[in-house]
Amino acid sequence: MKYVDEYRDPAAARVLVERITALAGADGFKFMEVCGGHTHTIYRHGIEHVLPANVELVHGPGCPVCVIPMGRVDDAIAVAETPGVTFTSFGDMMRVPGGNGSLLEAKARGADVRFVYSPLDALKLAADNPDRQVVFFAVGFETTAPSTAVTLLRAKELAITNFSVFCNHVTIVPPIKAILESPDLRLDGFLGPGHVSTVVGNRPYRFVPAQYGKPIVTAGFEPLDILQAIVMLLTQIRDGRCEVENQYTRVVRDEGNPKALQVMADVFELRPHFEWRGLGFISQSALKLNDAFAAFDAELRFDIPNVRVADPKACQCGEVLKGVIRPWECKVFGTACTPETPIGTCMVSSEGACAAYYNFGRLHREAAITLGRRPGASVSA
């Protein structure tokens, strides 16, 4: 249990692991961590290696960069290459490959693509450059959607007309539902996302126990948080309970952040459907600007090709995002697909399961054997 020594409170971690082992007994359990931040913590701290072999963590779809389909990246590039446009994006999205390269490659070809930390930075660019059309590539779950909403409210207030948003915000509940409906996967419960829940609260997850009979525990981002949440899930199961519980009470409230929910309601409406990488089209799973903000909608202001692009055949991000396979089980993991030359989105973002595993994964025996079987693969991660 050497990883435990690196945790903030190794003694507490040992107690939690012992409780997990005792609660699980001889039965097998599979829990999905929905959030990419959790995936990062799990790999960074070797949590999989301290858990008993019969308690398995499966990675979910909660990495907003990873779930953007290739066609939307191509749409973004088409807007970015429109004369007179300054295209702005979070750094994470710049290297995501579409069917026609990445935004970074579009920039190298001469497009005015800039990386911003905040949507407000993009608005400032628009205010300072009235002769340019400044477009912000909005991605993210409810963690970042309120920020885009506030930025749009501010743009309207300041009457900045050369600013628009290419909106790709997604919502957390529909993909959880899609995974619960998926025949590929049998799960015993969920670790609920931490930061998204600061906005939406815990109430939206009530359908998980009510309709699907699975427990869900909203968890924080420390190794001890993850272990504690697993104890809470197993305790529910052993007690014959099935509920929404909150391990991350330090930050998450049941009602979320009402102000953030309000600004989202003021600015966005649900799209009838949206394509997710790996999960396909999911109805009412993404946000678009509502009629009151149509003047700021890049999809109405520019010609968007809107072409669906299939993932490269070799790429198995879809299966990774659904938790059907582990990152190292993908045929191109660590060989053709690396953080330097990513083929799929999961290898790009630091929250993507493949990048997290590639950067931090201390390959355990099973993975090493799998990798070693592949011709030309090197076991060095």
């Binding site: 930390y117 400032k124 993210g140 330090r250």
Partner: protein, 90 residues
């Protein structure tokens, strides 16, 4: 993008009512605190910051934990801090 970075409020009403100055690990930055306007924020309070916006009020212990966790993330955290340092939120 999804990293929550802890910062401590050093100035409120820094330009307009929703703008505040925070200290993030020794670096002074402007952020938008409009989403916490009902929280009665005071100078000295800790907040978790996402893409230039304070998204939740936290206590000092949680700020310390979050900070230690972020440091362990290495490159992802230094990239985010660098991006924040170059931000021109108004």
């Amino acid at each position: 993008m999804c990293l929550g970075i802890p910062g401590r409020l050093t100035e409120l009403n820094a330009g307009h009512e929703h703008l505040a100055r925070v200290d993030v690990n020794g670096v002074s930055r402007l952020i938008n605190v409009g989403l916490l306007e009902d929280e009665g924020l005071c100078i000295g309070d800790w907040v978790l910051i996402h893409v230039g916006f304070a998204m939740s009020k936290i206590d000092e212990d949680e700020a310390q934990r979050a900070f230690e966790g972020l440091q362990l993330m290495g490159q992802a955290y230094t990239d985010e801090l660098q991006a924040m340092a170059e931000s021109r939120v108004t």
